[in-house]
Symmetry: C2
Subunit: 300 residues, 2 copies
């Protein structure tokens, strides 16, 4: 059997099933970042992302944007847990024949994001590789009361999404702002029950929340903020790498959130969490409801 | 200018020069692991290593050994700081056409080492890639009094190395035991002034200690424990990936260390730390002394 026949998520589940963890791990594989015991008031967060030339970016893309993306997608993971990023280590595989200018620009992009989000770049590894590969691992921290998992969605929660969805392939997947300040505003001022960042696709990532929370949901086509760069609604909700936040909170906070939202970043109420038995459905503009089988970007 | 013309170490220095760090970082780039503020009594350690097919291993190598190496070389880095490993995240790039059996065995190798050294595997990333790439990032911790840097070597320190050196290319680079228990014995029972693991090469890595400590050294060919797998003395001290420990401590502890060393792992006294002005020299079996220009495995 080949990896691609099993699929990425099945493969990860297969690995995860056989891993035993110590009592120091609050949450291992299966959220945007791992959650680890730390101090009396805080948890440590730990996440990693790998970008491969030809898959996540192309040689013709600007090196500075590629570097920025490598750190930004990790910052987005920490944000989606409600935390703040702190320390990063960065491994890069480069062909020896690569122009020094490209390598400098790539690290320049990483450093720019590090500075902007106050991340210390504390180490790394530099190796030879035919194709360019970048892996960043990021440590963050979160106050215990602000930790937000995928698994906390409650029946009747309102589902929100930040920004616009879809069309990220037209540059934005390389040039996005991780929603760190938005996430911190949310967890410090509201009781956010569940949160995830849109890396796989809106439907897939909301699907992760519903699966981990054992809930269903109804979302409404007319309320979903489709980007002007998307080629259509169907692709917008099924394409990956928007790096927006999807989160749920109790209905009684929803209005206050909309009233007090201080950012230019768009905020959209797109649906409601339902009982698990009701499944996951999309109400089309026509009023017709269709069952959703979550699907998104898969790596094999 | 191409990367290979600048060379790996010059490139890393070039990057490092422009990085500004916060007060939470005790030691950033330039040791076996980063050292970060943590609790009253302990520091956090953070390291990462990337392995690329065709560079660090070949497709024909046993997948279980490749996985084991990916985690072991990180454990070796934490050991060389005097610490203990705690939490790992693992990114893997795989071709979709790869046999599931290979992927299972690779993760099996990682899990075996994780279990042996009590490391929690808490997350990761799985992506598509033409060549297999594995990156592991590892968090460790160390009691403040046991932290051992490269930069602490003192004049007249005795230089020790564990195990045998050279010939790792004949399998041992894929099948070695990180010297964690030896390192912990050392830091708990002795005042170790400096320590590093032999990843680049004995001369190169001892050279890192001397450079960071602003010291010179004399080492003696006849005392260096050359492996039976090495093709000769010169290659043994210049080849990489032995993953043994090189460390220095005051002469007054040297005899007690040799007398109380409880392990089957060989322990060899190979030389002495000198004043920086005296340079780094190798005393040959003939009695002739030659200046050493540290050199080792370079990745470009």
């Amino acid at each position: 059997m080949k990896l691609k026949d099993l699929g990425e998520f099945n493969f990860i589940n297969r690995i995860n099933r056989t891993i035993k963890l110590s009592g120091q791990v609050i949450k291992g594989i299966g959220d945007d970042a791992a959650v680890l015991k730390y101090t009396k008031d805080k948890y440590l967060l730990f996440t990693t992302d790998m970008l491969v030339e030809g898959k996540h970016f192309h040689k013709c893309d600007k090196a500075g944007l590629v570097g920025a993306k490598a750190l930004s997608c990790n910052v987005s993971d920490i944000a989606a847990m409600g935390g703040v990023p702190k320390f990063a280590v960065c491994s890069v595989g480069f062909p020896g024949s690569l122009d020094l200018k490209y390598a400098d620009e790539l690290y320049g992009g990483i450093k720019k994001i590090a500075q902007r989000f106050e991340v210390d770049l504390v180490g790394g590894d530099t190796v030879g590789s035919g194709k360019i590969v970048i892996n960043i691992a990021l440590i963050g921290e979160v106050e215990k009361e602000n930790l937000t998992l995928r698994s906390g969605a409650k029946e009747n929660d309102v589902i929100f999404v930040t920004g616009n969805i879809g069309g990220s392939i037209k540059l934005r997947h390389l040039n996005f702002t991780p929603r760190l300040k938005e996430a911190r505003f949310l967890v410090k001022n509201f009781k956010v029950n569940s949160m995830i960042d849109v890396s796989d696709a809106l439907l897939a990532d909301l699907g992760h929340i519903l699966k981990e929370s054992n809930k269903g949901a109804a979302i409404f086509e007319k309320t979903i903020p489709v980007s002007k760069y998307a080629t259509g609604f169907d692709s917008a909700v099924r394409d990956g790498e928007d790096f927006e936040l999807v989160f749920t909170l109790s209905e009684r906070y929803a209005d206050r959130l909309e009233d007090t939202w201080p950012f230019r970043t768009r905020l959209s109420k797109i649906g409601r969490v339902l009982n698990g038995r009701e499944g996951f459905s999309l109400v089309k503009k026509s009023g017709k409801s269709e069952k959703i089988k979550p699907a998104g970007f898969t790596h094999f």
